[in-house]
């Protein structure tokens, strides 16, 4: 029986005899494996980004907005108009729905903010202290809103980091004032950064007391009892569906609707997260599948070269058989050559793929997510490619009749 080390030695020797050909053959697998690795890393990065940005909106969050549900999660503004949601709804939810840790009515507005001779157009949201809980907001510098700010409709404001940077590039905004829609407001705090949510810059906004925004900033939209949305934080992840159902039931009673003519929509952040995760997963799979095709092409390249090699080395195969090589020995030698080519290609492809993923995620400003299993998969898969595409040429070699083979020129 041939020693395993000699089998490997014979295969390596054959590959070294044609370095250029071996390198080009391995290149097919390098391209295949590196593109799969890069695509998978890219997909993982995109997914991590989606998850973190959505969870940064706040955990266990339900958002009630005016307007009817449209298809899969979209919102239409028609039925009931923008004033369908009221402060009374928010109070009723807080009073009647169980398993809630915060209910935060929100009034949206827009405004041109001026300070320091600089100006910045941004969203200004009128909120209550509950909003900080509902949205997991924290203050980087200064203080949060308190009940008195709201009850007395104080002219105070908290700036998102983007706003703070643009209006106060080189100074601490806390203690300064900004002008907004004709009024002057004291900056009491700067929010911690939340980053991009995928839809918008979550740091590009300002928070003021709900009462202040309704009376002074929102203009016509602020009149009356209507509000732009209600953020609800459920007590735990498990009760989200329960709270969602209770909120819907309660609002249907209050709005006298029966489901078909609802003038409000409850958005469940958890289900949106799931939907987006699924979407990115599908996308990743698609990219990896396309990359997988190039791995297949690399495998076919190996098969092609191995078939050429078997033809070229027919005499050598015949001789080895005459000298005592069994079919299995020949099969193993040629199989090993194919596997060595593809595993070497796989290892190099792994490194190239990681470098590629690093470059692409860097350029796209995505997190670089490196999976610990990826190297194992890359090596195992490229090995399988070698086995699959090396099997037929090796079988052809093993099956050669030694007499025929030795007669061949």
């Amino acid at each position: 029986m041939i020693r395993p080390t000699d089998l490997v030695g014979a295969a390596m020797r054959a590959l070294r005899a044609n370095p250029m050909r071996s390198a080009l053959t391995a290149l097919g697998v390098i391209i295949g494996v590196s593109s799969v690795v890069a695509m998978v890393a890219l997909g993982a990065g995109a997914q991590a980004r989606v998850e973190s940005s959505i969870s940064s909106l706040g955990s266990n969050l339900l958002i009630v907005v005016p307007g009817a549900q449209r298809g899969a999660g979209g919102v239409r503004g028609a039925a009931g108009g923008w004033d369908a949601l009221t402060l009374g709804d928010a109070e009723a939810i807080e009073r009647d729905v169980a398993n809630i840790s915060a209910v935060a009515p929100v009034q949206n507005a827009n405004g041109q903010m001026v300070a320091n001779g600089l100006n910045w157009n941004t969203r200004v949201m009128g909120v209550t202290p509950a909003y900080f809980i509902a949205r997991d907001l924290a203050v980087e510098n200064g203080r949060e809103l308190d009940e008195t700010d709201v009850s007395q409709a104080r002219r105070v404001i908290l700036l998102g980091p983007t706003v703070a940077e643009n209006l106060f590039p080189n100074m601490d905004p806390v203690g300064q004032t900004v002008r907004l829609n004709g009024g002057t407001y004291d900056v009491i705090g700067v929010l911690e950064t939340k980053g991009q949510s995928g839809f918008q810059d979550q740091d590009d906004m300002a928070l003021a007391p709900l009462t202040t925004v309704k009376r002074r900033i929102a203009g016509r939209r602020g009149r009356g009892d209507s509000i732009s949305q209600i953020s609800i934080k459920a007590a735990s992840e498990d009760v989200i569906p329960l709270v969602e159902a209770d909120v819907i039931d309660l609002l249907r009673v209050r709005h006298r609707t029966n489901g078909d003519d609802d003038d409000f929509t409850v958005q469940n952040l958890a289900s949106i997260t799931d939907a987006m995760k699924n979407a990115t997963q599908t996308f990743t799979l698609l990219l990896a599948a396309i990359a997988g095709v190039s791995l297949l092409v690399g495998g076919i390249g190996i098969m092609n070269i191995m078939l050429v090699s078997v033809t070229e080395r027919t005499r050598e195969i015949g001789l080895r058989k005459a000298l005592g090589a069994r079919r299995g020995d020949i099969l193993n030698q040629f199989g090993l050559e194919a596997i060595a080519l593809s595993v070497a290609g796989g290892a190099i492809g792994l490194v190239v793929g990681f470098l590629g993923a690093w470059a692409i995620t860097g350029a796209m400003d995505l997190p670089l997510v490196l999976n610990v299993e990826t190297p194992i998969y890359a090596i195992v898969f490229s090995g399988l490619v070698g086995v699959t595409f090396g099997a037929y040429p090796a079988w052809r070699a093993a099956r050669l009749d030694p007499i025929e083979a030795l007669r061949r020129e």
């Binding site: 020693r3 000699d6 005899a17 050598e316 080895r320 000298l323 005592g324 090589a325 020995d329 030694p402």
Partner: protein, 231 residues
């Protein structure tokens, strides 16, 4: 003394379409251990076919062939590979050395398939190359050797696993007369050491060296002649 080779009614048929070629047509003979036999005959008479059967490269269509007590017809592929490795040493007309390997590595090949460890087989290869007169050239590649030297390497390789039987199909066919004589001298010396040599040749001078000559024609043995004890 039991015969090393015992063939009875050996038949080898080749079918090509409708036509059947009787490459061997009922051949029976025995060859003793340590024998020295030349097989002669016109082209197409079945000499190579017979050698291939004796060497375990092919199996007979009919009849029985025993070599060293083993039934060649009953062996499977793996048995035949081991048989070729242990019992037979092949020498070819065209040397059949692997061009990428040195002389020493070429001689090591059968030892690799016998599973001999590297140190032992390197020593053995070197010793054999010294024995065939190539001690100075063990790390030469085949292209750096003359035809005669290449055939010596091939003979050293054939001897690697200490076979009982050396099979040579026209070993001097590609060599000039002088070199051919040197190679024949080597065969005779090896035969003197107890190795059974069976060779195919067209050259009557070469055949004359053997102690026995089997002549074939149309797949049959037409003459089997033991030389008078010669020098």
């Amino acid at each position: 003394m039991a015969g090393l080779i015992a063939a009875s009614d050996l038949v080898k048929l080749y079918t090509m379409g409708d036509e059947t070629v009787h490459a061997l047509d009922g051949v029976s003979f025995e060859i003793d251990r340590g024998g020295y036999v030349a097989i002669v005959g016109p082209s197409g008479s079945g000499k190579s076919t017979l050698m291939n059967l004796i060497g375990g490269l092919d199996t007979p269509t009919d009849g029985h062939l025993y070599i060293d007590g083993q039934d060649i017809g009953a062996m499977d592929d793996s048995d035949l590979a081991v048989f070729r490795n242990r019992t037979i040493g092949f020498v070819f007309q065209s040397f059949n050395l692997l061009p990428r390997l040195t002389a020493q590595e070429n001689v090591e090949l059968p030892l690799i398939y016998a599973g001999v460890e590297p140190k032992t087989r390197k020593a053995r290869a070197s010793e054999l190359l010294h024995r065939v007169g190539l001690g100075e050239r063990i790390s030469h590649k085949p292209t750096q050797l003359s035809g005669g030297q290449q055939q010596r390497v091939a003979i050293a390789r054939a001897l690697a696993c200490e076979p009982q039987l050396l099979l040579a199909d026209e070993p001097t066919g590609a060599l000039d007369t002088t070199t051919g004589k040197e190679i024949m001298g080597l065969f005779r010396a090896l035969n003197g050491e107890g190795v059974c040599v069976v060779l195919v040749t067209h050259d009557l001078d070469v055949a004359a060296q053997a102690r026995r000559t089997i002549e074939m024609r149309d797949g049959k043995i037409v003459r089997d002649q033991h030389a008078a004890a010669s020098a």
